[in-house]
Symmetry: C2
Subunit: 338 residues, 2 copies
Amino acid sequence: RDEKITLSHGSGGKSSHNLIEGVFAPAFSNPLLDAMDDSATFNIVGTNPRLAFTTDTYVVSPLFFPGGDIGRLAVHGTINDLVTSGAQPLYLSAGFILEEGFPIADLRKIVGSMAESAKEAGVFVVTGDTKVVQRGKADGVFINTAGVGLAHPTWQPGQNRLQAGDKVLLSGPIGDHGIAIMLAREALEIETEVQSDTAPLHTLVAALFAAVGDSIHCLKDPTRGGVATTLNEMALSSDVAIALDEHAIPVHSEVRGACEILGLDPLTIANEGKMLVIVSGEKADEALAAMRKHPLGRETAIIGSVQSSPEGMVFLRTDIGGMRVLDMLVGDPLPRIC
Amino acid sequence: RDEKITLSHGSGGKSSHNLIEGVFAPAFSNPLLDAMDDSATFNIVGTNPRLAFTTDTYVVSPLFFPGGDIGRLAVHGTINDLVTSGAQPLYLSAGFILEEGFPIADLRKIVGSMAESAKEAGVFVVTGDTKVVQRGKADGVFINTAGVGLAHPTWQPGQNRLQAGDKVLLSGPIGDHGIAIMLAREALEIETEVQSDTAPLHTLVAALFAAVGDSIHCLKDPTRGGVATTLNEMALSSDVAIALDEHAIPVHSEVRGACEILGLDPLTIANEGKMLVIVSGEKADEALAAMRKHPLGRETAIIGSVQSSPEGMVFLRTDIGGMRVLDMLVGDPLPRIC
Ligand SMILES: Nc1ncnc2c1ncn2[C@@H]1O[C@H](COP(=O)(O)OP(=O)(O)OP(=O)(O)O)[C@@H](O)[C@H]1O
Ligand SMILES: Nc1ncnc2c1ncn2[C@@H]1O[C@H](COP(=O)(O)OP(=O)(O)OP(=O)(O)O)[C@@H](O)[C@H]1O
Ligand SMILES: [Mg+2]
Ligand SMILES: [Mg+2]
Ligand SMILES: [Mg+2]
Ligand SMILES: [Mg+2]
Ligand SMILES: [Mg+2]
Ligand SMILES: [Mg+2]
């Protein structure tokens, strides 16, 4: 067999999942990695304090887009993977790959917005690295950020903790990031002002923990692969079903319109400032109220619930009263979205 | 001004230094980054334990070379930046950028050697990320590793701690990595079997700490920019002079020969398994003995000493009895060495 990497291996959807499960996970296998959470959490020595550690590389194209740039994304994305694991983000690393010929003025802008977003979120870039490759061997700038945070003292992340009766909360409208990038990329005949939703979610999640704490069963930022992929992963690893109400899922009308024209499903599109929260049924309203009070959660909605069967599946009750299976993202309609 | 990134910005030498000092350091400035050590070291909460955190991105070409591959390098390099800061390496992250069309069999080999080198060194890859870019937008595979370690409880890294009378120890022959890459890259008419020296130095440095502990004034792995650049940075930040004895500097004869043919100076060539140790004069022999007992330090040599002036300069007493100023690397004779 003469298999090659394809763009779908980077989609965050089914092929990404298969590549990680088939190549990386078995080779590196250890209990911390095997959990396959957004961050690894561990005690350095003895029992305290627990730390969280995560990484993401950013290859978004274009580098600058409505609502942000690769620098903001590289700070927010890694903060959010710490937050998703219940941690307080503290320190970031920054590894740059620069293409020969890249304008230093653009680099200054990107570094400036990284610095600004780090400051806004109260995290520090404490270590870095800078490599250069020949013209044509990269695409302007790629950035890796790794993040270290102080993990929650008791709460553990885990996609396998969903229970029948849990509610699914989504912190706001989906698809803005992916569509903003798509529209910035192609000179499409669509006149809209869709902006990336890129944002750091540490204070939103802190408010949620303050309100309902241990009733949170799972947190997950629906980035590559979107809400559909993220929920499928949860359903699979918890052996439950998830039923969503299409009418309850917030989507900006411009995004819905663009998706129709482009033949995309907002549920598989990447977000960079949204959180999916799985919370026990009896605490759902309290969680909703707490999130809605936060500026980044004003449009939070309860979009569905967890059922015991059919195990590993996600369903959508459509607006027109039907029911359809919602799969993970297959293929990659929007390569290099982050 | 219309400045662009050039390959020398990635050399690890003077231009890299200027780019970091001119663009990254001022934007991100904070006490941990400002130290400009190989790792940032900090206490997470309260006073204990101290952690070390570092990152490097690997863009070496070719991906496979005599003595190693990008995967081994990505594990060893980050381990060594933790070790250089006096830390015990614990956990790594792994961020991959894959080019569309890259053979999955090659990826498996690289991931396999990362896993193997991590295992050999007792560290764990606990979190990762995988991105794919279109054909022609990367060069096969780029890998970022960040590392978290347990910092030494008392010893602090610092290039500013050199004192007149200190001795400079080098753990073995220099230039092997750079020349191995160079020869693998070009189909040169040079018949040699130079192998990369890539190796994890945690046990060598542990043996050194056990022998002379606080008498170690500075540790540094002479990677990009080589021994010449590394010692210049120390001399500058400690306001001292360093005098080296050319005859004392170990260089394999094949490397010396290749350097002569290629017009390169072994002192500016990258190493991936060597350590420079600055130790107080009276403990130099004990340090030498301890390092020579270790398999990775058998050829350790005392290559020079620290003087009070002229401040910020490095000199070489040449084999023919002359004296020349040894500058940082200028330009980039060997792009993408790591
Ligand atoms: N190359 C890799 N090696 C080891 N583990 C990996 C690798 N790539 C991904 N993983 C692991 O797979 C899981 C999913 O990774 P993924 O990057 O999809 O998550 P994410 O960062 O939350 O999403 P996104 O990258 O879209 O923001 C994580 O647990 C991650 O640590
Ligand atoms: N893009 C960046 N942003 C912030 N700090 C950076 C950046 N690039 C490098 N640095 C900092 O500059 C210093 C020197 O970095 P450099 O990469 O040269 O060190 P190194 O990793 O020891 O060498 P090498 O990369 O050759 O192995 C380190 O303190 C590093 O944290
Ligand atoms: Mg992520
Ligand atoms: Mg995530
Ligand atoms: Mg580096
Ligand atoms: Mg390094
Ligand atoms: Mg170093
Ligand atoms: Mg990721």
